[in-house]
Point group: C2
Chain length 132, copies 2
């Protein structure tokens, strides 16, 4: 059997494969919300450790896709982090990294409560904007 | 008094002003997390109304910057929305719009619980990725 793909067919096929790849990456992504209550007297120390962990993870781990961290306006010791990993496996790799282990050890006695909730995307809409 | 700005000075001043603008927009932005529990039997209807509201707001309102909506994996009737408006005033304008009023009226008897929490950004790191 002779299998050939003409150059006219190549580009549609190529872009279909690209689109499939994007969709499959999206479907397999692992999303989670972490709610963390920090010892108020050590909040700045905690935030330093969190920043270091997030920067190292994004820089060094292919499977860590996004962190959005906020604190409650009226209770700044309450931190909420929206986390996106490429897959559940990427998350399992993440928690074995040196930077994550260092973060966990550093903040062990600063974190009073930790609640982790797996979530699934509903929708995301954004304008182009500057965020820190 | 003669005020002149040389062309050599123009570009640094211009970019300083641009950067100041970005910073001031960031500082004044209004961020909130909405936690919504929906009547399970009407979840699809609720999600339709939410999608319509979000799309209309992003399209028609300059001051609505971002919505990230997720649902708990184990309790899909629990919706969490991370909302960003350009300012508290932009949010006040938002709740006066026809699309928002329509959304509120449509979902009034679908929403069992609503909890709104003002939040402040801590950090945001992301890789370029495809999200819906």
């Amino acid at each position: 059997m002779n299998f050939r793909i003409s150059s006219a067919a190549f580009f549609p096929v190529f872009f279909f494969l690209l689109a499939s790849q994007a969709v499959s990456q999206h479907i397999s992504a692992y999303h989670r919300i972490a709610r963390i209550t920090v010892d108020k007297s050590r909040l700045n120390e905690y935030l330093d450790a969190l920043h270091s962990q997030m920067s190292a993870a994004l820089k060094n781990e292919k499977g860590v896709l996004e962190y959005i961290a906020v604190q409650e306006k009226d209770n700044p010791e309450k931190i909420i982090i929206f986390e996106t990993y490429a897959s559940p496996e990427a998350y399992q790799l993440h928690i074995q990294t040196e930077h994550f282990k260092k973060y966990k050890a550093t903040v062990a006695d600063m974190v009073l409560e930790l609640e982790l909730t797996d979530v699934v995307p509903v929708a995301r809409r954004s304008k182009k904007m500057s965020v820190n």
